[in-house]
Amino acid sequence: MNRFRRQFAFGMLALVAATVGALWLHQKFGALPNHAFLTGWALLAGMFGLTIYNARKKLPFLPLGSSETWLQVHIYLGFFTTLLFLIHLNFRVPHGWFEITLAWLFGLVSGSGMVGLFFSRVLPRRLATRGGEVIFEKIAAQRHGLQIAAENLALGTEAKSLFIAEFYAQRLAAFFSGPKHFWLHLAESRRPVSTLLAGLEELRRFASEGERDKLDRLAALIRQKDGLDYHRALQLALRLWLFVHIPLTYGLLVFTGLHIVLVFGFSGGAR
């Protein structure tokens, strides 16, 4: 069994065990008057455990164990904390703007984490399969190089094929001008590049031998550009989820702090 499958199996096992345990505890002690306080503090402890993974990342020079182990614990704890959150809510729909905002924040943080987990397990393999490792920061420069090469080929001083120039102006100029088809690449669709290549293929009927060579070179540039777009889309997705997950975590922590203050400020004789 490889590492991911093992981690997944352990994760599922831990989640099922935690769910059964938590539900049993909820059934047994759910009616206690301080139930909300108990689950609330447990939830806070879980959230604290989740956030210190970020601190671990900031201290790589300390012998604090491998980040891989930390991430696994983070994932298991994340699932368990989500369950605890539902129990804390007593499986009811939150009400009031503050509670709703807090619930939304929690849901978005959990949801983005799960999306991130899915991306980090699925997208790297797809990137590797497509081949041609590209550094994300260099994609823009490489794309610009391809754009220049395609322009020179279709519109340069040596270009004398009007129909190729026309095709470039109508179909390819926009394609080479910037990153394209983020969502389609994420969905593993090859439709845009196939359409462009089919269009190019159509032109071969009118092309001389020299022009066919030019069309072949243009097709190669299109494939390269498509490959760059693919890498950009997937690598961007692997980064973007963190831009949701981490800032919202800070927001969630602020709201959680306020929530605790409000609970203790206004709970009165509920304790």
């Binding site: 590492r3 490792e133 550094i135 980064r239």
Partner: protein, 580 residues
């Protein structure tokens, strides 16, 4: 327009002499000096006469008292002959690392570890203003274009260390040069104007080849100093008593294959895309009669099999591994159904090996082995051209693990990555390109990352541009100050920034582009410059977080277990890691 090729003389071996200052008079003087005066010049072939070897493969070096000639632990390509004056070899205890221009081994303390929290705000490549050789007891001086490092307090060294004097006419460094092993002792000049003849490897090889006395002398030294202990440590000979071991040692033959300066040649071939197994020197040919087992002492060799019109790599073997035991054991056990060598063995780079003749194996070694330690009988392959490597026929000496595919093996071999003992391998199937490894490296090295998360890849594996801490560290050859060194014997290769003079020797030698030259800055972020306003450069590379607790930060920082520091000398570690 007619084609007009550029004509030039075909490059020859001695186009560039080892020592530019070698004159006819110097050569004449050497020819009158022992042991060259006792060599029979007529035994040398016309294309490599003795006088040309001396004129082109040697150079005369002069040292002042206290100047270090060779350091323990360094790698070198030359042997030395004392022409004039005296030298002193340090026996016990070894000189302190600081006296050899090295940093003292050890981990960071609690304060230095925690100080990394705020050291990240320093300017990039910050270096306190220091001069090379500022370590206590060590000095440095510039002679012409060479930097010489000297011991400042020789009486103290003599008081605290057992040493032995060496005189004119004595050789040293020949074993380390020939076997490409680390030098075992430090030797410094014991008189002013000590004169040494440095003989580069190619010259030493030819002198040994054509002069029986020198060959016998070096073989004797080798057998006395290195061979007995090596054989004793080899599991194959563990059942032999002392007398048997002595007989084996007496019969062992030494051989070297390949190019000593393989890294430069390899770089050239790699750039031209003409790295081919067929061009590598054959140690043992497939189908040859097995006349001895081959023990690899240093370097690497490719195990290959004929495939179509070329050679297919089945595995590579490194120091300590054995080739040919299966065939010889088979022939010994099953008289009458003798098999030839089933695979070819070719030197990759430079290979130093020992050959134990078949007769000695059959008479002494094989009878001593318990049955369960004998290899299984060989099953010759019916058709090598159509069969998969292991589908029929014998297994190669060290079978390729299943998880390492043929393509991956070719990739590791072609790029010489098997040299790495801590190669940064990235599994692209797991890597999310988050750069946590790079950030961790930077945070651990005062905000200066020491590798690039980029490099050649094959299938799901990428070998990043990070120091591999090679088994054969060609970067360590030629460092004038000893700044680049192993942390401990066979340990990590590290650079001491305090004694690095930025000469680029290691940077040029490294065939993997794992060393970078950086221009250092002061606390304000200004470049440090010399008197001529040229920026001061230092060599930097991955030090495997040798001073940090917990191991390499890059490996620990990867959230997906996609990065490993793997010993590629054998495939077992890689195979295990890939299966995880």
């Amino acid at each position: 327009m007619p084609f007009a090729p550029t004509m030039l003389e075909r490059p020859q071996r001695w186009d560039a002499a080892f020592g530019a200052e070698m004159t006819d008079a110097t050569v004449a003087r050497l020819l009158a000096t022992a042991p060259f005066s006792q060599m029979a010049a007529e035994k040398f072939p016309k294309r490599t006469p003795l006088c040309e070897i001396l004129g082109n493969d040697t150079r005369v070096l002069r040292f002042r008292k206290g100047e270090i000639m060779v350091r323990q632990g360094d790698y070198g390509t030359s042997a030395f002959l004392i022409l004039n004056g005296t030298a002193r070899v340090v026996l016990k205890p070894d000189l302190a690392p600081a006296l050899l221009g090295r940093q003292a081994p050890g981990k960071k303390g609690v304060f230095r570890t925690l100080a990394q929290l705020w050291n990240g705000s320093r300017p990039a490549e910050y270096l306190a203003r220091q001069k090379p050789g500022q370590a206590a007891g060590l000095g440095a001086r510039q002679d012409a274009d060479k930097v010489r490092v000297f011991l400042q307090d020789i009486p103290r060294v003599l008081d605290h260390h057992r040493t032995a004097e060496m005189f004119a006419g004595e050789f040293f460094g020949e074993i380390a040069a020939l076997s490409r092993m680390a030098r075992t002792s430090t030797i410094f000049a014991d008189s002013d104007d000590t004169e040494l003849l440095e003989i580069r490897w190619q010259g030493l090889r030819d002198l040994m080849k054509y002069d029986d006395a020198l060959r016998a002398h070096i073989n004797r030294i080798y057998r006395e100093r290195a061979l007995a202990s090596y054989l004793r440590a080899t599991p194959l000979f563990q059942h032999l008593d002392k007398a048997q071991l002595d007989r084996v040692a007496e019969a062992v033959e030494f051989a070297t294959y390949g190019d000593y300066d393989w890294s430069g040649e390899y770089k050239r071939l790699a750039q031209s895309g003409s790295v081919r197994p067929e061009k590598e020197p054959v140690i043992v040919g497939e189908g040859d009669y097995p006349n001895g087992i081959v023990l690899l002492r240093a370097g690497f060799a490719r195990v290959s099999q004929k495939f179509g019109g070329g050679e297919r790599t089945l595995n590579y073997i490194g120091a300590g591994q054995i080739f040919g035991l299966e065939e010889i054991a088979h022939n010994w056990r099953t008289k009458g159904s003798a098999v030839s060598f089933q695979f070819s063995l070719r030197a990759i780079g430079y290979t130093h090996l020992l050959i134990v003749p078949t007769q000695v194996m059959e008479e002494i070694v094989l009878p001593s082995l318990p049955k369960n330690e004998l290899p299984p009988p060989v099953q010759p392959a019916a058709d090598h051209f159509d069969s998969a490597p292991s589908a029929s026929g014998s297994q190669p000496p060290v079978a390729r693990p299943e998880s390492v595919g043929a393509e991956m093996l070719e990739f590791l071999t072609e790029n010489r990555f098997f040299n790495g003992t801590a190669t940064m391998v990235i599994d692209l199937d797991r890597c999310t390109r988050c750069d946590d490894c790079v950030r961790a490296c930077a945070a651990t090295h005062d905000n200066n990352p020491r590798f690039l998360r980029h490099g050649p890849s094959a299938g799901r594996l990428m070998i990043a541009n990070a120091c591999m801490h090679c088994a054969d560290p060609v970067c360590m050859i030629g460092c004038p100050t000893g700044a680049i060194h192993r942390e401990s014997f066979a340990g990590q290769v590290v650079i001491n920034p305090e004694t690095c003079i930025g000469c680029k020797a290691c940077f040029t030698n490294c065939p993997y582009d794992a060393i970078r030259m950086v221009e250092v800055r002061d606390a304000k972020g200004e470049f440090l410059v010399d008197q001529e306003m040229r920026p001061i450069a230092k060599a930097t590379k991955c030090d495997l977080c040798v001073e940090n607790h917990g191991g390499p930060a890059c490996e620990r920082a990867c959230p997906h277990g996609a990065l490993g520091r793997i010993n590629l000398n054998h495939l077992d570690a890689l195979s295990k890691w890939l299966k995880l």
